[in-house]
């Protein structure tokens, strides 16, 4: 049995390596033709068969950054409220509701984004852009329906439960002695959170936010529906754009008969894969460091997304 299970584990590693090599093989054509300008050049033109994908990478980074800016503070607030302040009886139901955000499939968020969020938010975006027209990049310009902001907002909603659940997990490991010591010294509830809870939980929360980032970078269907799919670098927050994942999903069908086009899409997939891999490795490092610093709480504590730590605690999601 030991031999069999070891072979199984090895087989999975080998399979992943095989997939990775095949993906590199398929992207080779695009990389050999466009070289580094596939990543840094800004000219994605299907009609002329030129694939310089800077606009895609920029779109991926902008939307993910918006998602972090909106999602992480709310996720941390939720985690702090649920672990430190919330009445005990409301704790479990509220936690379940936040976790359920992760159970909604991305295509449903896309549907909701297209037919509810985009039309309802457009007036507010127009007001915002004209009122704050003096702020570069945010103001000016005329907002269009699908844009970076909408995509970032939906991504924020999608990463919120992950970041919140990991933060909750980490905050729960703060030793009560630390908190009691702060309170005994006369700290208010808030000062106790700031002085005892947050410093202790910071590496874990950082890791959680980075896992959320990894999720946002790779999200496809919700983004392709609301980002506008224009292969240009948008000049402000409310302009249309494109993302690495979106371009693959959107142009996949038409690319099937043009080898260089499909190779460019595989290359976009490779860039995306490597990007998320790096973000995830850094995130794991942060979470693991947070754990080790505090003497380690075993595999069950915070080395992994909460669904793994407490299958019952997190719904439909394992980051």
């Amino acid at each position: 049995m030991q031999v069999g299970l070891t072979a199984l584990a090895v087989a999975i590693l080998a399979l992943l390596a095989y997939f990775f090599i095949r993906l590199i093989g398929q992207s080779e054509k695009a990389f050999s033709q466009f070289g580094l300008s596939f990543i840094f050049g800004n000219d994605w033109d299907v009609a002329r068969n030129i694939y310089h994908g800077a606009a895609l990478l920029v779109g991926t980074l902008i939307t993910s950054a918006i998602a972090l800016l909106i999602g992480v503070p709310i996720a941390i607030a939720t985690a702090l409220y649920l672990t430190e302040l919330c009445p005990r009886r409301a704790r479990a139901p509220l936690g379940i509701l936040v976790d359920l955000l992760a159970a909604v499939p991305s295509v449903v968020y896309g549907l909701w984004g297209v037919f509810v969020l985009i039309p309802k938010l457009l007036p507010a975006e127009k007001w915002f852009a004209s009122t704050f027209s003096f702020i570069p990049w945010i103001g000016g310009g005329t907002p269009v329906g699908p844009n970076y902001f909408i995509a970032g907002l939906i991504l924020a909603i999608m990463i919120l439960p992950i970041v919140s659940a990991i933060s909750r997990e980490v905050i729960a490991t703060v030793p009560p002695e630390n908190k009691e010591a702060a309170l005994a010294l006369g700290a208010t509830r808030w000062e106790m959170i700031r002085m005892a809870v947050l410093p202790y939980a910071r590496p874990g929360i950082t890791g959680g936010a980075m896992l959320g980032l990894g999720r946002a970078l790779g999200e496809t269907i919700a983004v392709v529906l609301v980002i506008g799919n224009a292969p240009v670098i948008g000049h402000h927050l409310f302009s249309q754009g494109y993302s690495l994942a979106a371009v693959i999903a959107n142009e996949f069908g038409e690319a099937a008969n043009t080898p260089i086009h499909s190779s460019a899409l595989f290359a976009a997939g490779l860039v995306l894969f490597v990007l998320t891999l790096i973000v995830n490795i850094i995130a794991r490092w942060f979470v693991a460091r947070g754990n080790r610093k505090h003497g380690g709480t075993g595999t069950a504590a915070a080395t992994e997304a909460p669904a793994a730590a407490a299958p019952a605690a997190a719904a439909g999601e394992a980051a």
Partner: protein, 271 residues
């Protein structure tokens, strides 16, 4: 400050309430007898048809994905807890499984497209079973990570007692460890199934979608997320209404799975 944190929590819940409200508001009207009993037909005029093939397609594809990912996922978890708990190789496997959870689902779709669809493996290009494998890759790390945690909760004293009675290792696993951990394993697997059920991107490149109902996993297949995605892009309001109905159906399925998972885990004493 307390107020601020409360406001943050309430803001976090707004999207969930809004999504559920709109799903019920726009989706309930689409549900009718023919919604569940007829297939989408792709006609540009008249009745667009229902979602029967999508619902059955989702059940078939996810069913096969579950059959693949759950045994393998639990097998890897067993290796990690029973044999490789502190070994260097075990830690490496654990690390790669962690990394797998962060791979975007669309990349799994590309993997399968390149290695199975392009080469027409099995005689056809796009096929339901290829979608199942893509979903299985996505579900595998979820199953493994949750199973590992549950298996670690099985007290070592139970293992030692069985070993002391002279049971071989494999028998300890089959007769003591697995039965003790069953409720937790079921919970983790159900959550993985719920996750796989809602994925669109991996299916886009592997099963590709279809209109008609098919029982053959070696043919192109429809699935709920695929149909929702395609319907959103349609200019017809009837079709968009069908998308809301299908979305309501999909969310209901996912939430029911979540609910069952919770009930199972509540019944277990251990977790």
């Amino acid at each position: 400050m307390r107020g601020l944190l409360l406001v943050g929590t309430l803001i976090a819940l707004i999207p969930l309430l809004l999504v559920i409200y709109y799903l019920l508001h726009k989706g309930l009207g689409a549900l009718s007898g023919s919604f569940f009993s007829s297939d989408p037909n792709g006609n540009f005029f008249g009745d667009p048809g229902g979602t029967r093939s999508a619902i059955f397609g989702t059940l078939e594809i996810v069913g096969l994905a579950t059959l693949i990912s759950v045994p393998i996922g639990i097998g890897v978890a067993l290796y990690l807890t029973e044999y490789g708990r502190d070994s260097r190789f075990g830690n490496a496997i654990r690390y790669f499984v962690d990394v797998m959870t962060g791979v975007p689902s669309i990349v799994f779709g590309l993997f399968i497209y390149i290695s199975l669809v392009l080469g027409h493996v099995g005689g056809s290009g796009f096929a339901g079973w290829k979608g199942s494998i893509a979903l299985a890759l996505l579900m595998l790390p979820i199953v493994t990570r949750s199973a590992e945690v549950v298996l670690l909760l099985v007290p070592d004293s139970l293992r030692e007692a069985a070993l002391a009675l002279g049971a071989p290792r494999w028998r300890v696993v089959m007769r003591v460890v697995l039965p003790t951990a069953t409720p937790g394993l079921v919970t983790g697997s159900l959550l993985a199934v719920a996750r796989g059920m809602g994925e669109t991107a991996p299916l886009l490149f592997t099963t590709a979608g279809a209109f008609a109902l098919t029982g053959s996993l070696n043919a192109q297949m429809n699935a709920l997320p695929l149909q929702i995605y395609n319907d959103i892009l349609s200019p017809r309001s009837v079709v968009i209404q069908r998308a809301w109905g299908a979305a309501l159906t999909l969310v209901a399925l996912v939430l029911i799975l979540n609910l069952i998972a919770r009930l199972v885990s509540r019944r277990s004493r251990m977790a």
